[in-house]
Point group: C2
Chain length 123, copies 2
């Protein structure tokens, strides 16, 4: 009888199936944990600049992510406060909030998939 994956892999190494997930379109890859975290932090801090700093990325990089998102959506996701880098008071739109919710559910379903595959390794 052919060996199963369980017989082949060394036990007790806590082997698991893991992965990453993103959305992509004709415009390229645009939506994954990074952009979502950025939106959440903008909502939390009211500042694109502070959100970027918290994530160790430049203000320019943050705007690059936001612009990449905006090319995919019918309405803007971030409403920047006039005053630019030091302005504060930036907010995210209800569409951005829906995207964050969607992403949370997507990650949950992916986690369930990975868990099921990891259990399968042991049988």
């Amino acid at each position: 009888m052919a060996k199963t994956i369980k017989d082949i892999l060394i036990k007790n190494l806590h082997t698991k199936v893991n992965g990453s997930l993103w959305l992509e379109s004709d415009n390229g890859r645009f939506f994954g944990p990074g952009p979502v975290e950025l939106l959440e932090r903008i909502a939390g801090t009211g500042s694109i600049s502070t959100a970027a700093k918290e994530m160790g990325m430049s203000y320019k990089k943050a705007w690059g992510l936001i612009n990449a998102l905006n090319t995919q959506t019918n309405t803007p996701l971030v409403i920047p406060q006039a005053g630019g880098e030091k302005g504060g008071g930036s907010t995210i739109t209800s569409e951005a909030i829906e995207l964050i919710k969607y992403h949370r559910l997507l990650r949950k379903r992916f986690a369930a998939f990975l868990e099921k595959e990891t259990v399968r390794l042991k049988h």
Copy 2:
């Protein structure tokens, strides 16, 4: 009523959910499309060196991948031909063949997950 993801994303950009998948253990990440392709090409060419070349990687890098795999399995996956780099006649074990089969099925299940999520974007 809150907008759905379908209302938020611009239509006709062929947006889809995509991702990558791997196995990892206490020894790190060790199993994904790259190592599997290497095993398949070793089986096909009988040569670690040729397989590596076909994939644009060095002989050393190929052995690194094989060794990483071997630290996770109860038995070796590749039986190298004595003679080293120019030897030829290298083979993969039945355990490696089972791993390749497992990987194919895993990818199929992942593709089904991604397809389901992509369909969900449109509803």
